[in-house]
């Protein structure tokens, strides 16, 4: 398969909660092997969008196709080829890392070996430690290890670095970049612009259930410079995605 062919196709995806439309008929494609960022403030619809693609929520309209399978028609096929790290998953605190890995491995037909996976996630030393005793970064790496246990084609990471200290974030960035090296496709949501800028090949800026821009980080920034160049050049700092977002929505990313 060519590197540019889409592995995820989203068409007219819509979700309503209690009468309010939180995702408003969005379309986008994710290419095989890229890190695709969903960027936006809280409540922009990032998580809902991801969960509809993962098959965890039923869309009220539109379709999502992952690796050729429609998430509404062949959900079980989709589940076999994706790995998911949810925003607010807690794991069984009283189990050890190894035990919880074995448990998740048992859900799949052809799971990966646990030891090499633990090594990649820098968790080998914690193999027999209980989840309860892990640090925030270690828990998050375990969550990613679990998402990788079926050797998936597409990995969904929902705000993987939220609440982590700077060092733990860097460690996680390295891990995510290594996934890309291995040819995995990563869909990542975040509200940190620096994270999106470092990790993502392309960024989908979302606000209030709509896509406001979709491009590479560089293109987004240079487009902004072209539009409002002089203003920003007066600044000593480099303009970044935060500026892009503010200029497009008039609001800051971290508001709300």
């Amino acid at each position: 398969m060519a590197n540019n062919s889409p592995i995820i196709e989203v068409r007219g995806l819509t979700k309503k909660y209690n009468g309010a439309t939180v995702v408003k008929g969005i379309d986008f494609e994710v290419r095989k092997g890229e890190i695709f960022g969903l960027l936006g403030p809280n409540g922009a619809g990032k998580t809902t969008t991801m969960e509809m693609i993962e098959g965890l929520r039923r869309p009220d309209g539109g379709t999502a196709i992952v690796a050729g399978y429609d998430t509404q028609k062949s959900l079980n096929k989709v589940k076999q080829v994706i790995g998911v790290q949810l925003q607010s998953t807690s794991l069984f605190e009283l189990l050890t890392v190894k035990e919880i890995m074995q448990m998740y491995a048992s859900f799949y037909k052809d799971p990966r070996e646990i030891d090499p996976l633990l090594k990649e996630m820098i968790l080998t030393e914690k193999k027999n430690a209980r989840v309860k005793s892990l640090s925030g970064g270690q828990k998050q790496r375990l969550a990613i290890a679990l998402a990788l246990i079926n050797d998936p084609l597409v990995i969904f990471l929902d705000e993987p670095t939220t609440g982590l200290d700077p060092q733990a974030r860097r460690t996680l960035w390295d891990i995510i970049l290594k996934l890309k090296e291995k040819g995995k496709t990563v869909v990542l949501s975040t509200h940190y612009m620096d994270e999106a800028q470092v990790l993502c090949d392309r960024i989908c800026l979302m606000d209030q259930g709509e896509i406001v821009a979709l491009d590479t980080p560089q293109n987004l920034i240079s487009r902004l410079k072209l539009e409002k160049g002089i203003d920003l050049d007066l600044d000593t700092r480099e303009s970044n995605l935060e500026d892009v977002f503010i200029s497009m929505t008039g609001r800051s990313l971290r508001e709300e």
Partner: protein
């Protein structure tokens, strides 16, 4: 359903249980404390099954008085004086029907004489074989057929007394040892009533609260959602939950039974296998109900109160602490449909009376019915999120 996933989930749940020492400790401590408290306070203070009897002595001889005393000495039947308004057998029978007494023993006129005659014949007779040729002196015992258990206890005691008297008269040498357990077996104390009730209570509350609370909390914390994003089937997850709960809660119930048996001398007159069967049946029924509550509860905080709202009245209505027959007439038909009532009755019948399956099929069927209906409802109400 994947066997590998089923096994791993069961194992995970058992590990979580085993590592949650506090839960295990308190869920065992509570019933044992309850046993200790209620058992020692109420167990000795006249909580015994008591049987009151009128004796209508139509003979008024030394022999008849001896019979009355012997019956009283057994310690099970209390011979009481009928009120003065009761003058004849018919009056006494009215009292029996009203439940004021449980037995009426009527000693006919000529009882003493016929005993003497029998004794004389036995002493002077040519052989033991002819000793019984004299028609035996008849003692009439009236009992309430609607209270078979009490009646049977009373009849056993009186039979034993009469039997003893006839044997002593005829100079009968026992060739076979008499097995005294038959009578001791029904000499029940409150603890014998209490322990099966406590076990039934434990089975109900551990499973209702345990399943509902845990599932609702796992749902809230996103643990179920994470599993939902894997190819795992809900049926595999539920089966594993049931297996692990059954092992753990069944085991806990058995520990409490054993504590009662070993330290409080609770009788187990029936088969342990049957007892285990009812523990299993009860556990499954209440697990299923726990799943229903977990499905209804919107938050883990509401799961506890919902489970409590169901289990608390059941504790009082279900014959856990007080016999169902003590309940108001109006409530009886409802009470008799409750699963906890059947579980406690079944456990009690097996332990106290030594009932077997042929006697307990109504309880078994009703529990099976509750279990089946609950599982069907649970399978419709279960949701991952």
């Amino acid at each position: 359903m994947s066997l590998k996933a089923y096994w791993q989930l069961t194992l995970a749940q058992l590990r979580i249980f085993a590592r949650n020492r506090q839960v295990i400790f308190f869920s065992l401590l509570f019933p044992i404390l309850l046993m200790l408290m209620l058992g020692s306070f109420l167990g000795s203070s006249g909580g015994n099954i008591s049987l009151q009897a009128y004796v209508i002595d139509g003979d008024e001889s030394t022999a008849s008085q001896q019979l009355i005393d012997t019956i009283g000495q057994q310690g099970i039947i209390e011979v009481v004086e009928p009120p003065v308004t009761v003058t004849d057998l018919n009056g006494a029978l009215e009292r029996l029907k009203n439940g004021d007494v449980q037995l009426i023993v009527e000693i006919p006129e000529g009882y003493g004489q016929s005993l003497e005659a029998a004794a004389a014949e036995a002493a002077g007779g040519s052989g033991g074989a002819e000793a019984g040729s004299q028609p035996p002196a008849g003692v009439n015992v009236y009992y309430d057929e609607t209270r078979m258990t009490t009646a049977q206890v009373g009849l056993t005691v009186i039979n034993q007394v009469i039997d003893g008297i006839s044997k002593s008269l005829t100079g009968y040498e026992p060739v076979l040892a008499v097995n005294p357990e038959g009578v001791q077996g029904v000499q029940l104390e409150y603890i014998d009533f209490l322990v099966p009730g406590i076990v039934a209570m434990m089975i109900m509350s551990n499973n209702l609260n345990g399943v509902a609370g845990q599932i609702a909390s796992w749902r809230e914390r996103g643990i179920l959602r994470r599993m939902q994003s894997t190819p795992l089937h809900a049926s595999t997850f539920i089966s594993a939950q049931i297996t692990a709960r059954l092992l753990l809660n069944g085991f806990q119930a058995l520990i409490v039974l054993l504590v009662g048996y070993l330290f409080f001398e609770t009788q187990v007159n029936g088969s342990w296998a049957l007892l285990v069967m009812f523990v299993v049946l009860g556990t499954l029924t209440f697990i299923a109900m726990g799943f229903i509550i977990a499905g209804l509860a919107k938050t883990p905080e509401s799961a506890g109160p919902i489970a409590g709202m169901i289990s608390f009245p059941l504790l009082f209505l279900g014959g856990v602490f007080f016999p169902i027959s003590n309940m108001p007439e109006l409530l009886q038909p409802i009470v008799k449909l409750l699963p906890i009532a059947h579980l406690s009755t079944a456990l009690r019948q097996v332990m106290n009376v030594g009932a077997d399956l042929t006697m307990l099929w109504p309880e078994t069927l009703l529990l099976l019915g509750w279990m089946a209906v609950s599982f069907i409802v649970a399978s419709f109400t279960f949701k991952w999120e």
